[in-house]
Amino acid sequence: MELSRRTFLKGTLAGGAGISLLGFDLTPVYAQTQSLKISRATETRSTCPYCAVSCGVIIYTLGDKAKNAIPQVVHVEGDPDHPINRGTLCPKGSSLEQDILNDRRLLKPQVRRPGGTDWEDISWEQAYTEIAQKVKKTRDDTFLEKDASGKTVNRCEGVAWTGGCTDTNEFNYLAVKTMRSLGVCYLENQARV
């Protein structure tokens, strides 16, 4: 059975004893609308991570940024100031709240060992250490300083990098800087496909 997560706060004021006879009201019935759920929430301006229209979105989080309040997203809505979307959002942008608050999110580092049939938990530190060792070993094993004709190439062809569509410029720059410094040639991104 689907039950409402939020009770409707609508109430009638002084309506409980609305006895009226022949149309003459003795006690008026007022209807009061639900209060605005975002009226005191914190607004953060962001950009939708989906397509390249880049709609401005406002993320409403609970709390006034006080130290002890851990922000919780309560709503996401279009940014009306944004010249392109002017507050509008598509069905994907409109559901961004569910992307932020999603119980399918990955919450801890995991490793699948060779021959493994399931995930194992791993600490960040351990994961970093193992990955760094693997990267170095692969680089050292496959690094090519000169090609067959003796020209300097400084390539590491044993490692590939595939970057995602939502990586920011700054992150992409860090990826380019680190990967090219390792000598990575197989450097690709969602941009290709």
Binding site: T44, S46, C51, A52, V53, S54, C55, I59, Q72, P83, T88, P91, D99, I100, R104, L106, L107, P109, R112, P114, G116, T117, I122, A127, Y128, A132, K134, V135, K136, T142, K151, V153, N154, R155, G158, A160, W161, T162, G163, C165, D167, T168, N169, E170, F171, N172, Y173, A175, V176, K177, T178, S181, C185, Y186, L187, E188, Q190, A191, R192, V193
Partner: protein, 868 residues
């Protein structure tokens, strides 16, 4: 996009083709609607399916997937035959009048001159301008036969001519005209456009073959319908009137073909022919499908370039000087004209980049650390990653937010490739198919024990948890703010990457190893190196002065350490650094330009100069000089973007002029300043395109017919099939008789929203769109499960029987098309509830790529369909 989202509102005519903006860019599509509402603009949608974009169009034309060049070629032909062309624009702003070398041959038989059948490449030396001068009015001189170009440049070919993936009309020009032979400094031209070897006459001849009959045979569009569409689109240029503007809007429906770049070329040519480029409401507008793939391309997240579209060095670039000589184009133009040739600044951009990457380690003595960069001489693109991993060449792979198994093509091959890797590091926010490739459907527990790949799955941060810059399809840089911390133990992506890199650096420091210099010397001087602040990185991208630098003209000095105000300040002597010259100006001493939130739009054209920041130098419409006639007056005074101010002796306007500001009209400087010729290229000389200077229609690799233009050369001659045992290509004879295309739905975003209960509620299950007539024939009813089989795999989903896709007559044969949305894999809400068959759309798609942009052919392959 040459223009921008909002700018679409200024148009009078839209051709939407190879894209479905109403579904995939709804908020951008509002500006198309605005044009309809406020300008009575007309929309023509050409698509294999009656999409939601088509539902709103004034005219919908159903086309066979992949036959776009035939349609566009037909429209080009129609425009020329009916004089619906912008004559003044054509003569002055394009290379229509330029003469092409004798010996250049049009592809009547499907091949341009210079084809090497063995290597499947072209010798492009005849694809060049004729040296000379003004031949206007002069009769063509008889030319000697066989003026062949020098041979021996084959090695260059695989390295040249990369498109930008989606974006034809950006500074790709820089890549042209390099290597030997070069473009002639003084091009021969005929302003009367009558010379048989002038570009216009060649183009006319090329597309005369694209008659309405031919268009009908290839595309399946009935002649009458085609003529109606061609007439409607070209009607903006009726009687040569220049006031109206038409735009062409496309997306990956054009790029994802084995001739994708050429489709876009055809569109660009049509727009140049009609004088629509550079103008408000015009342009060739690629709608990027993802939030920051424009930025990723700018940032060179792809193998063949460096940040700012600088070329990747190749092994022949033995030192920086050699590289710069190759990478820096020289002016090539008709003598009386002028050309800005902005790419002549390549050395400044390159040295500044190297200074940003390697800081103090980049010195004049070590060629600014030029050799720290890998040198490439072959294709390392997406499909090759998987192909080469399958062949065992790649040992380790990072996938940061990239679901390679789902993306394909030929997902099964990608899964098998991952089985052969030693390690895989996935940074994701949801459980994805790539990280769980080892337990893909069909892999048993016993099989899993034989898979030796170590997979690390690191929980990254979602968009709301990270700050940083996205670049939209209109090249706007916009900073976003973080709203919440990452959940659980998840960490910021930059923290993960930086930590891995710094740990590797520590290992090299401790243990030494192969060529450790770049690893040790890459600048990481961030306040918190293990978790770099993205604003510090953004400032590094903009660039700063490393020593006091003074502009000799204005005498303005920028002190060492200060942010640079723009790329004009960049130097090639190591006194400036900039991570990406295109972004120079985005975070200046005045602050973060990409964080600006100015909502004023004085011109009313939707320019919003003070919102965010647009590369290059905040120009919102590229090539906007072309919005004015030769005298510098706007073609349409109602839509004034920039214009020549005689009093100020300067270009002024609502937008930043994409031009040399003090170049008077009489100097006849070309508006396309990124091309060494300064003009728009109808004909692409030399190496910029791998498969021809004009777009020629070729069939997709898997096609139901032989190309009616030249059956002997049916598909793109330079496209190579892959050769592993996984690579199979289907034919009609094998029973693959249905044309299949893949696409996204408005309700879903790739392989991401299948984790979002809201979007899953909107479209819960995978489906296949099947024409009603085909369904009748196969006994399929709506909602019943069907199996779609390609030469590679099969896909099972429910049938959506619809009348929105109709049977077509292709070269006289009845042909059906079906469509498959790509969104479902084997991990997701519906998948985990066992509501899907857990097959992947891209298990069907073939491993074959466009020779220019290396984008796989996801559209228009062959399948068969049957009821399950």
């Amino acid at each position: 996009m040459t223009n921008g989202w909002i700018d679409i509102k200024n148009t009078d005519m839209m051709l939407i083709m190879g894209g479905n903006p109403a579904e995939n860019h709804p908020c951008g599509f509002k500006w198309a609607i605005e044009a309809k509402l406020h300008r009575n603009a007309k929309t023509i949608v050409v698509d294999p399916r009656l999409t939601r974009t088509a539902a709103n169009a004034d005219m919908y034309v159903q086309i066979r997937a992949g036959s776009d060049i035939a349609f566009l070629g037909g429209v080009i032909n129609y425009a020329i035959q009916n004089n619906r062309i912008a004559h003044e624009y054509l003569v002055n702003y394009t290379n229509a009048a330029f003469l092409i070398k004798d010996g250049f041959k049009l592809p009547e038989d499907g091949l341009y001159s210079g084809f090497d059948a063995e290597k499947k490449t072209y010798d492009k030396s005849t694809w060049n301008y004729e040296e000379g001068g003004d031949l206007t009015g002069k009769p063509p001189a008889p030319t000697p036969e066989g003026q062949n170009a020098p041979a021996g440049q084959g090695a260059q070919h695989s390295d040249t001519g990369k498109g930008l993936g989606y974006q034809a009309a950006s500074p790709t020009g820089a890549k042209a005209g390099t290597g030997a032979p070069a473009l002639p400094p003084n091009i021969a031209f005929d302003l009367s456009l009558q010379h048989p070897r002038c570009v216009f006459q060649l183009m006319k001849k090329q597309y005369e073959r694209y008659t309405p009959e031919m268009v009908e045979r290839i595309t399946g569009i009935p002649q009458a319908e085609f003529l109606k569409a061609a007439d409607l689109f070209t009607s903006v240029r009726k009687d040569g009137d220049m006031k109206k503007v038409a735009t062409i809007i496309y997306a990956v429906g054009w790029t994802q073909h084995s001739f994708g770049t050429q489709i876009i070329r055809a569109a660009a040519m049509l727009q140049l022919l009609m004088g629509n480029v550079g103008r408000a409401g015009g342009g060739v507008n690629a709608l990027r499908g993802h939030s920051n793939i424009q930025g990723a391309t700018d940032m060179a997240g792809i193998f063949d370039i460096l940040p700012g579209y600088l070329k990747m060095p190749n092994p022949n670039d033995v030192d920086l000087a050699t590289y710069l000589k190759r990478a820096t184009p020289t002016v090539s133009k008709p003598d009386p004209w002028d050309s800005f040739n902005y790419w002549s600044n390549t050395p400044k951009f390159t040295v500044s980049l190297l200074k940003a990457m390697y800081g103090a380690a980049a010195t004049k003595d070590n060629d600014w650390a030029f050799n720290y960069l890998p040198k490439i001489d072959r294709n390392y693109s997406w499909v090759n990653i998987w192909n080469d991993m399958y062949e065992g060449k790649i040992k380790g792979i990072f996938a940061f937010g990239m679901n390679g198994v789902m993306i394909g093509p030929d997902s099964n091959k990608n899964i098998d490739a991952l089985k052969k890797a030693d390690w895989l590091v996935v940074c994701e926010i949801y459980p994805d198919e790539t990280s769980e490739f080892w337990r893909a459907p069909g892999i048993t527990a016993d099989d899993q024990k034989k898979i030796n790949t170590t997979v690390y799955r690191l929980p990254g941060a979602g968009f709301a948890e990270k700050d940083g810059t996205f670049v939209n399809s209109a090249r706007w840089l916009q900073w976003k703010n973080a709203a919440v911390p990452p959940p659980g133990l998840a960490r910021l992506d930059q923290e993960i990457l930086a930590t891995i890199f710094l740990k590797v650096r520590d290992l090299y420091k401790k243990e030494g190893g192969k060529f450790p210099d770049p690893v040790l010397n890459a600048t990481f001087a961030y306040t918190t190196p293990y978790n770099p602040s993205l604003s510090e990185v953004a400032k590094e991208l903009n660039g700063k002065a490393l020593a006091d630098i003074t502009d000799p003209k204005t005498n303005i000095t920028i002190k060492a350490g200060q942010q640079l105000p723009g790329f004009a300040w960049l130097k090639d002597d190591g006194t400036t650094s900039s991570g990406n010259w295109l972004y120079c100006g985005s975070w200046t001493e005045a602050g973060a330009m990409m964080q600006r939130r100015g909502t004023d739009d004085p011109s009313g054209l939707g320019i919003y100069p003070n919102w965010g920041w647009s590369w290059p130098m905040n120009r919102r419409v590229l090539y906007n000089r072309a919005s004015c006639d030769g005298g510098g007056k706007p073609w349409d005074p109602q839509r004034r973007q920039v214009w020549w101010d005689e009093a100020k002796q300067s270009w002024v306007g609502s937008d930043v002029p994409d031009f040399k500001p003090d170049s008077a009209p009489k100097d006849h400087m070309g508006p396309f300043i990124m091309n060494p010729e300064g003009i728009g290229r109808l004909f692409v000389p030399l190496g910029a395109m791998a498969d021809g200077p004009f777009p020629e229609y070729y069939e997709p690799i898997e096609s139901p017919i032989a190309n009616p233009l030249h059956p002997a050369q049916s598909s793109n001659p330079v496209v190579k099939k892959y050769k592993t045992d996984m690579d199979k290509y289907g034919t009609l004879d094998q029973g693959f008789n249905v044309v299949c295309t893949t696409y996204r739905l408005t309700e879903h975003y790739h392989y991401w929203t299948k984790n979002n209960p809201m979007n899953v509620q909107l479209v819960p299950e995978p489906f296949v769109e099947v024409p009603a007539e085909l369904a009748d024939r196969m006994g399929i009813r709506g909602g019943e499960k069907v199996r779609v089989t390609s030469a590679r795999a099969h896909y099972i989903a429910k049938a959506m029987v619809t009348r929105r896709i109709r049977p077509m007559k292709i070269d006289g044969k009845e042909t059906f098309q079906i469509g498959i949305p790509i969104h479902w894999g084997f991990r997701g809400i519906s998948e985990d509830e066992d509501r899907t068959a857990k097959t992947l759309a891209n298990q069907l798609t073939p491993t074959v790529i466009d020779p220019n942009a290396f984008t796989p052919e996801f559209k228009g392959f062959l399948v068969k369909i049957e009821k399950v």
